[in-house]
Symmetry: C2
Subunit: 352 residues, 2 copies
């Protein structure tokens, strides 16, 4: 399937990427009351610890929620291993635990079973899904519908940003903060939908077989999701690192000229990446900076994808992934692949 055939490659992914401003605006309008209700319940509860359970793209939304909860609520957070709870049959003590299962389909057996076990062990359970009638919702005490609408491309895009925004709204409402800043998101996403720099970058990476993405703090989930999107759609080997972890070993494998995408929000996460950017320049990596492009002196050899100014760092993951989704789409098309139907994958993956 090529771009000229009756069923053009990537048409669903392209449409779903472009739909994101509308999805995010609609979610803000229609889901705020439901999210506020869950948040009120949590604010009046006595949860001491949050466990997040998810797989694939949803796992990156869970990682985003982990940073949000740690920095905004100050509660300890863990990413649960569904296999540990289900396969190893542990006896669990989950008093005072809030268990949050994040899933588009709400139908993966290990997630449903681990949620049931968390509930039996004393946790409050919350399902964040794009499937209000799913078995995961039925297994959970609380539910948030991200209202992303039907997603057809196997490569998830709009459901990811819808998950992020729903989690931002939840955690902001939980701590009693103003939800207003989220209203700036749809326009910021719109501005990043059709950047010529992304076309150029897809061309630059035309024959790239391996690529590294780097983030830190709030931009680390974006690095992970971008790497997954690139792997799913272009089949290249894309590895995501936090800036700190990269320095502990993997830095050795960055070759001269190796393509590295650094995702640097304005704010603290961005400034923490400055030493990483300096070492990558010394190594003569082929660098692209997404976000805070002022991290280096203007440099013709460094590609730059800016972000709209003024967005709070905690919101920037919702917009920064968008040009990287576009990059995955364009790179797949350059390689004559159909990102709507990656080889070997189905839309709903069931793991046990």
């Amino acid at each position: 399937v090529t771009e000229d055939s009756p069923s053009p490659a990537g048409r669903f992914m392209a449409a779903e990427i472009a739909e994101q401003p509308a999805v995010l605006a609609r979610q803000f309008a229609s889901q705020r009351a439901e999210i506020q209700e869950v948040a009120d319940f949590l604010r009046n509860g006595n949860h001491r610890f949050v466990l997040l359970a998810a797989r694939g793209t949803s796992d990156h939304a869970a990682l985003y929620a982990k940073y949000l909860i740690e920095t905004k609520l100050g509660l300890p957070v863990g990413l649960a291993s569904p296999s540990t709870l289900t396969a190893y049959g542990s006896t669990l003590d989950f008093q005072h635990v809030l268990w949050v299962a994040v899933s588009q389909s709400g139908s993966s057996p290990d997630l449903i079973e681990s949620t049931q076990r968390a509930s039996a062990a004393g946790a409050t359970t919350l399902a964040v899904t794009n499937a209000p009638n799913s078995p995961l919702r039925a297994a959970s005490d609380l539910h948030i519908d991200i209202a992303g609408g039907q997603e057809t491309s196997v490569a998830a895009t709009k459901t990811y940003t819808a998950q992020l925004q729903a989690l931002w709204l939840l955690i902001s409402a939980w701590r009693g903060a103003d939800l207003g800043p989220a209203e700036a998101i749809p326009e910021a996403v719109q501005e990043l939908l059709h950047l010529p720099q992304v076309e150029q970058l897809a061309d630059r990476y035309r024959s790239t077989d391996r690529l590294v993405t780097v983030g830190r703090g709030f931009s680390y989930p974006t690095a992970r999701e971008a790497a997954l999107k690139l792997m799913e759609t272009t089949y290249l080997s894309a590895q995501a690192f936090s800036g700190a972890d990269l320095m502990h070993g993997p830095f050795a494998m960055i070759e001269e000229g190796a393509p590295v995408i650094v995702i640097a929000p304005e704010g603290i996460g961005g400034s923490l990446l400055r030493p990483v950017v300096e070492r990558l320049l010394e190594r003569n990596a082929d660098m692209c900076i997404v976000g805070n492009t002022r991290l280096t002196e203007p440099n013709k050899s460094v590609a730059a994808i800016p972000q709209p100014p003024g967005l709070d760092e905690s919101l920037s993951p919702i917009v920064q992934i968008v040009p990287l989704q576009q990059l995955a789409l364009k790179m797949a098309l350059t390689r004559h692949l159909d990102p709507d139907q990656p080889r070997g994958l189905r839309k709903v993956t069931e793991t046990h």
Copy 2:
């Protein structure tokens, strides 16, 4: 530096890999009492959650401890993000939290500062280090010395297995279990030190530029650590996945003939990998199975690295990493690289 020069490449890494049976036996003899004391304190405490903080190789030991605590103690566990606690300056509520910092050197600034902040927020803090006089120990309420002895190669080997065994002893003593099964480890490690299969595999991977490792449950930390060791020493792009996560997207990038190392312990983690192995066979991946080599019918195209029989699944990570350390060493030498001194790395990495 080549193998024939006065200072042969990899001589420290080779010696430190070979030293592991002695290190593990010595730790069991000399550190058991200290570990038991910490375990007694924890058993009498009222800790409801465990947070583990670490970077690099130590982070894989922390991941192992996460599975152990979840399956053997039933407590919720999180892997902490040191950057969140330090850089974002969150106000934290860590009552009833046990904070475990795992570090060889005990000197990384972000780990020390985050441990101090966890302590100020109400957590009990435990440092697991190879440096009894380190600032991390000074910052912590409790300490376990893994007694690995000095490690000179930048690529950590004996300190990793010493961390794993110390954490196994701690968690077993905490739940009041028999520590005796650990006595079988040194001999099991010895049996895996000089396998001809590893030499053959290093030859088979001579021109490999990217490679995937897969684990599940207890073998997932081994997949992660093997990938890091390969990246550090051979500079290839090695990606580790849990079997479940691989099916959620990254499977698309496994090419026909792509090298994939599956780490499959006996027991539950191994049996969970059976469907993954089947899909990899369908894809004609170039597979190597470490551990439970009976996961496939005898198949000449599948390389096999067995493990000594009868070891409990929770102990198998301590032995399964050993042939993979050897593989990283041999592959580095094949490529005329010095694994003792990977480019761009120092023994102690300081991140903020």
